[in-house]
Amino acid sequence: MEIIDILTIIVKLAVLFTILSVVVLGLTWLERKVLGRLQGRLGPTRTGPMGLLQPLADALKLVLKEDIIPTAAEKVLFWIAPVIVVISAFVIWVTIPASQSLVVQNLDLGLFYIIAFSVVGILGLLMAGWGSANKYGALGGLRAAAQLISYEIPLIMVVVAMAMLAQSLDLRVIVEKQSSYPYLLLQPLGLVIFFIAGLAEVGRTPFDIYHAESEVVGGPFVEYSGAHWAVFFLAEYINTFAVAALTALLFLGGWSGPFLPPVVWLLLKTLAVVLVIFWVRGTFPRLRIDQLMAFAWKALVPLSFYVIVITAVYQFYGWPAWSLTLMSLAGLAGVGYLVYQRMTAPARQVKQVQARQRALAQSRRAAAAGGTPPAPQPVATQGPG
């Protein structure tokens, strides 16, 4: 390899890192503003016009803060964990194309590369939780491992289905294949699974179980401060942006669109997905860990297998495109019904309990009137489960 080649790669990586850092600063500002508006507040207003300088102030504050390493912590693990997390978040971007030609290094196995390195980040979280010698940290690390491993499976299965549709793991080819219609129309169920599993992968609300402040006070990050904590924060936003960009590339047709230049189209689509992610954060409460795991293994994993099977059948028999859409929508409708059942379950259970209590009171009254002592009856005192 020539020296020039190595130098160009280094320059490209530096440019990529700068762009991503700017994007992260922008995203933090946007999230504060959007969340503020969703909650009837203004968000940051004091620093610069519309609070635009708020992320810079935050970054400066984080860098200037004292970086504490606990005495009981395992120094090497504690130090290296944020580095692993941020590097695994960053290297994914090497192969994510911004347009047909604008990519640091296009790989034929691009999608597979992205999946392989997205798993490595979990290790960093585990090491952070363990290395900081803190109960909440270790608990959060374990939660992170359990959650991310579980949600990795549906994510990979859906990505495999999309690769089957495009007959390629190269993101550029996948976008090219969507030039007439985006895969959103072919595989809506795939989009839903990918989006939910992606949210869980980056640990955003309602899936922020492993660093939930009210349960494990920050989880793996509890002992981190200053620049080290800022690195975790950076990785989280890089990952969020990556999930949004991958959703746009795999399902929304990437950079294909009329009139505007390709990069602008991709940015617009990614921004739309990011806004939905923020919207979800402002809308839904956090799940419990058992609900989270049950949802992954009982709902998302079987559904992702269903996605693979219908895609394979569609590909093998060469059925018309709308047949896949129909099969996918049928799956989506099934899930919608199940979720509806679960959501209305508490109300139904409350009604049942009330009916039972009424019956009990009635039987007691009847017994008192008759003069015989009431027979002990099992009373459902348990709330909705």
């Binding site: 390899m1 790989l107 196995l109 392989a116 798993v119 979990i122 290790l123 585990l126 363990w130 990795e152």
Partner: protein, 162 residues
């Protein structure tokens, strides 16, 4: 250039392996294993086997080490971090020497080709895996199935005792 890389990766692999057996802390052993397995992925990359390298990182570097760490951290290993069972070391030496012997014999009988290494075409890899090597592939998945069923049986048995 490639020799330099290979040397570095070999040192990392062997050092990681040595760390696994030498350290007394179970969590450190698992992390040394991670180092060793990741370095092997680097060796695959030097050999232009990108797919294999990515599989190595995904399966061994990611999933397996995470599950090992998860199990170690869940089993209250912090209460007794310095226990290591070394009774098996003579058996381990025999196994390691046996593998070394087989590999050395294979290497001696078929010296490495002098052609330039190149990455295999992904389609060819897939079609040979699912046609010519379909039976070994399925046998490997059978092993995983056995492990899954075993895990379920163990979990159920302990659940009944309570």
């Amino acid at each position: 250039m490639s020799w330099l890389l290979f040397g570095l990766l070999a040192v990392l692999t062997l050092g990681g392996g040595l760390g696994v057996v030498a350290t007394r802390n179970v969590v450190h052993a698992a992390l040394f294993l991670l180092l060793s397995l990741t370095a092997v992925a680097g060796v695959y990359l030097v050999l232009f086997a990108e797919f294999l390298a990515l599989v190595q990182i995904l399966i061994y570097g990611g999933a397996i080490v995470i599950v090992v760490l998860f199990a170690v951290m869940l089993t209250r290993s912090s209460d007794y971090p310095r226990i290591s069972d070394n009774r098996q070391w003579p058996l381990a030496v025999v196994a390691a020497l046996g593998v070394l012997g087989v590999l050395a014999a294979a290497f001696m009988s078929r010296p490495s080709p002098v052609t330039r290494p190149q990455s295999p075409v992904f389609d060819e890899l897939a079609s040979s895996l699912f046609t010519r090597w379909a039976v070994p592939f399925e046998v490997a998945s059978l092993v995983l199935l056995v492990a899954l069923i075993g895990a379920i049986i163990i979990a159920r048995a302990s659940g009944n005792e309570r």
